[in-house]
Amino acid sequence: MLIYIYTSLVLFLILSNIFVLFSQNPIYSILFLILCFLSSSIILFLFKVDFLALLYIIIYVGALAILFLFVIMMLNTKYSISNNSLLYYFIILICLIVILFNFFLVTNEIFSNLILDTFDNFFWSDFFFNINSFGQILFNYYIIIVLLAGLLLLLALVSSISLTIK
């Protein structure tokens, strides 16, 4: 049962990705991008990574995609990709799909048990909740990296503000 839901969701994800590339109207491609984010967050839910799934919705769908929508709606662009580059994108897409499927097949054989085992140990043995385990690991072992990531974000913020001032 679960595997059917999972495969149908992945197919949906791939389909909406294709529509992001090939829809003529830029607004439609943004809406399909939102569908991509939503379906990937549902896939994360199926993997029991509930915290990351909700963060996906809050950050990507709730903040980033709305900004994209705003900009594209207000600019009123009539931009559409030409047939030539469409073919180019299509070739890249097919190559990616072939590579990814091969990758999945190989990793499924070798690593699946290993990955699932470590995943289970990592998330479910020590702590009961997802959010607890993330907090414990991030702030105990990777505190410097978290601080550096915050500084990077601050840098991006300050630089964008300085761009607008000029």
Partner: protein, 327 residues
Amino acid sequence: MIFDFFISTFLRILIIIIPLLISVAYFTLAERKVMGAIQRRRGPNLIGIFGLLQPLADGLKLLVKETIIPSNSNKNLFILSPLITFIISLIGWTIIPYNDYSFLSDINISLLYIFAVSSLGVYGIIISGWSSNSKYAFLGALRSTAQMVSYEVSIGFIIIVLVICCGSFNLQNIIQSQQNVWYFVPFIPLFLMFFISGLAETNRHPFDLPEAEAELVSGYNVEYSAMGFALFSLGEYSNMLLMSSLNTILFFGGWLPLIEISLISNSIWFGFKICIFVILFIWMRAALPRYRYDQLMYIGWKIFLPISLVYLIMTIFFLICLNYLPY
């Protein structure tokens, strides 16, 4: 086995949604009645006893009316957007606890879930404004989207203060941690800010610029008629109910009773508290004049956001100094 599961889930969802829709209908009636009482009028009193059947008549009128779809609009999105607004306003009710044992689902990150759902609610509005292909609807959608996005930020910080004090994102745990004292006693400024941000988030007075009839043409829903308009207003009112139930859960102890009386169950106390907030929403609409748009943005970004940030840091400081962190 799976069939049974789907049937029971469907029934449980219906048990929540049908009373919700009835209460939304009577919310509209209560709004007109209370506004009438404040302005020394009668309000609707002709259909049924005391006008009690008025919302049903209104619903029937909206159902029977003709649905007009503008010929230059983007038809798919135009039809889809009221559905999105309505469904997303219903989704938030899945995690509201009505009593210590009655809820649809009790997940451990329910506040984050509510935050995610409220951030999704913007899409129906912005898509409706764009798809109706009219300048007025588009400008109205931009106005209300900017308003909702900017007030979401301070709501997030206010929620985080409470989560730090309680130690859990779970709504049941937050309610149970208020056994001794409700959170609105130590956090009165926070409660006021949350209530005002809730008014702005649900596009209500005094922040109802999306549908300021007098000075601007009505907002994102100008082009809608009949059922589309009804779905928009249903979604809006159910969002208001959700906001008032969140107010009670976060600051007024949810289903915790004020006085222990064995005849009155906890869920009735919960409904009573929600009713008080509903009347507050209506009172605000009757009493206050409308803000200008720049004043609205000023309040959101330059007053509420700094105050909630400082409050967050101050709370963490006190909790760490006094060793009160709940972990």
